[in-house]
């Protein structure tokens, strides 16, 4: 049966089979069109515009002056897709619910909240455990579910929510097979006026090559997939309509464990001169060009922020320490010589200044081919500079636990992009997270930085915040605890033959990536206009 109306065909997830699961709390199991499209966020923050809020279910929010609470006000006349009212009770219910069922709390927001209080039918106040100026960013990540449905769910973890009742633009599942499903317009959507797309169609595509062939023959409107040699394989097939735009996303950096079990390595790794030299020996551009097909963006910001957080950048950091974050083989080798890392025992490899050998195992998870390529390229120059380096590719799980424990020498690590540089810093350098998260893999701590970061969330004053952040950047840039290499791209391909209104490099209104980690995709959906039939 043909679905009537304007159908937008998109690929958000790659899978071998579709399972009917629209449980918005199941990050790994729910269909990727569940968040945002089915369960609308309170607010969507536009990262490309300095976190400008786009109010969705909430029409406003207000952070208390002491930063110890935040109050959201819902829009008027909101309805669930089954026609029931959507009000503050549902919000409170949702937060109580995830507090009761910790397995549901996929963004660990409960831990930050003291209580959630209904003020009136449209107003909810979140009381925090600690002052936090950035809490709104976290809270909006949790989908709000209807109390009248979820209160009766026996086991919300395994609940598949096959017939979802949602608040977003696309809530009705009109067709579901393991090979394709369609998700259509919410009859009670509050913003229906802006919604020109009637249905989303999600064909099952198992991997990048399949997405590519679907893209190339024009059957997909919107996709997020790695495509090799995209200008030839995709754009050239129909240059007028086949388009793409890659935005920088998570930071990939080279990391060293400051607490690595190997005593000799540890001596070198904890020496900032060694780290700086190492950083200068990484040929970032080649890695980007070859391992990444030229898609990623070189990150040569010693403060590890780069393009992504350009609006927060402290030019001073780059001016003072920039030379340590860009490739210069000669300088790097000279720096090593100067710091005393020379071949003491004549085995052809550089040793510590005290003569003990440095033998580095470069760890990268098995099967992560682009990283493996990147490591191999990085190793070329490192080896040429006289370092004794080999690569190992353990199981991802083993890799993760080694990183968490700090029991490794050298690795690549990725850190998701966020709305504010505070997040990458706190995730990477928070001593409280040592041994808990792989993002703290370097196990590098700096009291001054910790203090600055703590202050940062405590201030409401933008100017003060900027000063703090500038200082933090200087500290990071000086110590180079992580060696930035590149920001991976967010892949975004689209086809203009059926719909227009796409964000692109000329009009970077928000991030249009259709992956489930980008709430701004909702904005993109609402901006689409069908091309009038000829």
């Amino acid at each position: 049966q043909e679905t009537s109306g304007n159908v937008l065909t998109l690929v958000s997830e790659q899978t071998t089979t579709f399972v009917r699961n629209f449980n918005p709390f199941g990050q790994t199991s729910a269909r990727y069109t569940t968040l945002d499209f089915m369960y609308e966020p309170l607010v969507v923050f536009n990262r490309l515009k300095g976190n400008e809020p786009n109010y969705r279910l909430a029409e406003s929010y207000e952070l208390a002056d002491d930063l110890m609470s935040i109050t959201f006000v819902l829009r008027e006349g909101l309805k669930w897709s089954d026609g029931e009212d959507l009000n503050a009770d549902d919000v409170v219910f949702t937060y109580d619910y995830i507090a009761k069922n910790p397995a549901l709390d996929f963004i660990s927001v409960s831990a930050l909240l003291d209580s959630v209080e209904k003020v009136d039918d449209r107003t909810v106040t979140f009381h925090l455990k600690e002052a936090n100026s950035l809490i709104a960013n976290t809270i909006v990540g949790m989908p709000i579910v209807p109390e009248h449905v979820w209160a009766d769910v026996a086991d919300p973890v395994t609940f598949a929510n096959e017939n979802p009742v949602g608040s977003g633009p696309m809530t009705e599942i009109t067709r579901f097979t393991p090979q394709v499903y369609e998700q259509c317009r919410n009859p009670h959507y509050w913003d229906a006026e802006n919604l020109k797309v009637d249905c989303l169609r999600m064909p099952q595509l198992a991997d990048n090559p399949q997405v590519l062939s679907a893209l190339a023959d024009g059957s997909l409107d919107w996709a997020t997939s790695f495509i090799p040699d995209i200008d030839n394989t995709f754009v050239a097939k129909d240059p007028e309509h086949h388009k793409y735009w890659f935005t920088p996303s998570s930071l990939v950096s080279l990391q060293l464990s400051m607490i690595t079990p190997d005593e000799n390595n540890r001596k070198a790794f904890t020496d900032v001169n060694f780290r700086r030299a190492l950083s200068m020996l990484i040929d970032r551009q080649t890695i980007v060009d070859i391992a990444g097909y030229g898609y990623p963006l070189v990150n040569d910001d010693p403060a590890a922020l780069g393009e992504l957080y350009a609006s927060f950048a402290n030019p001073e950091a780059k001016a003072q320490f920039g030379q340590y974050a860009s490739f210069d083989l000669e300088a790097g080798m000279a720096a090593l010589d100067e710091a005393g890392y020379v071949d003491a025992d004549g085995d052809g490899f550089r040793d510590n200044p005290d003569g003990t050998p440095i033998v580095i195992d470069f760890m990268v998870p098995n099967g992560w081919t682009d990283w493996i390529d990147a490591v191999q390229i990085a190793m070329e120059t490192l080896t040429e500079a006289g370092l004794n380096i080999s690569m190992s590719t353990p199981e991802a799980a083993v890799w993760t636990s080694s990183l968490i424990a700090g029991e490794y020498s050298m690795t690549l690590n990725a850190l998701a992009s966020a709305a504010d540089p505070y997040f990458p810093y706190i995730r990477s350098f928070n001593p409280n997270d040592f041994g808990k998260s792989r993002f703290t893999a370097p196990h590098w701590e700096n009291a001054e930085l910790s203090e600055l970061l703590a202050q940062y969330t405590q201030t409401k004053d933008a100017a003060e915040a900027k000063t703090i952040m500038d200082q933090a950047q200087l500290i990071v840039a000086e110590n180079l605890p992580i060696i930035p290499i590149y920001n991976s791209p967010s892949f975004y391909q689209y086809n203009t033959s059926r719909f227009t209104g796409w964000a692109d490099a000329e009009n970077p209104k928000y991030s249009p990536v259709v992956s489930n980690a980008n709430p701004a995709r909702l904005l993109q959906l609402l901006d689409l206009d069908p091309v009038a039939a000829e």
Partner: protein, 295 residues
């Protein structure tokens, strides 16, 4: 020795041996055959075959020809290493089970049948996945430990029939100890079966190693045909039109497989004279045609 001279007289075996020799020589002299290192970037990504790069370059800019000739080493080493292990285990267990009979046989036979009904490749996949970063050595070892069952089965049934032969009986009557009977009376008569088993196991090991690596369960540090396939597949060599990247290891594998298979076929013919189709049949056809006689 007799086997060897017979091998040299068999056309199929000869072709097989030549193929194998070429590959072995290429593997041994790999560094002399190419100026390029197999693990360094020596060109732009995915350059088509040219005078500089006979078989083009990979996505990373490695020289395909260099990787191919160096990769032969791993394929051969794993093939022959695992093949040897499979054969040794299979033959030892098979001869013991077949000769000893009784409980020993029951036990060995049970496990053999057991291993035969557990699907091999999936099991290997799972094992490799659990072990993680399966280097060629690890692959060879798990291949050796999981694939001996077929060998036991054929050796055992052959041993059973040899055991019935009078020369084994007479050795028993002479009071030869059991191990001597197995080693010196039965085993020499199994040479061709063992040979077939060995070559068959080598083929199996080469194919399986390549398959495991192709599926991404190998160690990316190795230079081998399976890893080449894996890298090519990952670089979407087919969809970007870099056929040389994927076809080179394909043909290398097929070539090695063909050589080994020819050899195996020939051993089969030598072991079983009925299977032989020597020059006499050609001669016969010719003689019938010129009317020297008929059937």
């Amino acid at each position: 020795m007799k086997l060897l001279s017979q091998l040299l007289h068999n056309k199929k075996a000869l072709v097989g041996l030549i193929i194998l020799t070429i590959i072995v020589l290429v593997a041994i002299f790999a560094p002399l055959l190419t100026e390029y290192s197999p693990t360094r970037r020596v060109g732009r990504p995915h350059q088509a075959p040219s005078w500089d790069h006979w078989l083009g370059t990979t996505r990373l800019g490695h020289d395909v020809f260099s990787r191919l000739v160096h990769g032969a080493r791993v394929s051969l080493a794993v093939g022959f290493g695992a093949g040897l292990m499979i054969t040794v285990i299979g033959t030892v267990l098979g001869v013991i089970a077949g000769y000893k009979g009784g409980v020993v046989d029951e036990v060995i036979n049970f496990f053999t049948n057991m291993v035969l009904v557990v699907p091999n490749l999936p099991l290997l996949l799972v094992l490799a996945a659990f072990i993680g970063q399966a280097s060629p050595l690890v692959i060879a070892i798990i291949l050796g430990l999981t694939s001996w069952a077929w060998g036991v089965r054929v050796t055992r049934s052959e041993t059973l029939s040899i055991r019935q032969r009078d020369f084994v009986k007479s050795a028993e009557m002479l009071g030869e100890p059991a191990w001597r009977i197995m080693l010196f009376e039965i085993f020499p008569n199994l040479i061709s079966i063992v040979g077939i088993n060995f070559i068959g196991s080598v083929i199996f090991a080469v194919i399986t190693e390549a398959t495991l690596e192709f599926l991404g369960l190998g160690d990316p540090n190795t230079v081998s045909w399976g890893i080449m396939l894996y890298n090519a597949q990952n670089a979407a060599a087919l969809s970007v039109g870099a056929w040389w990247d994927i076809l080179a290891p394909c043909f290398a594998l097929a070539f090695l497989g063909l050589g080994l298979a020819l050899l195996n076929f020939a051993i089969d013919e030598i072991a079983n004279p009925r299977l032989r189709t020597g020059g006499m049949l050609n001669r016969w056809t010719r003689m019938v045609r010129i009317g020297e006689g008929k059937l």
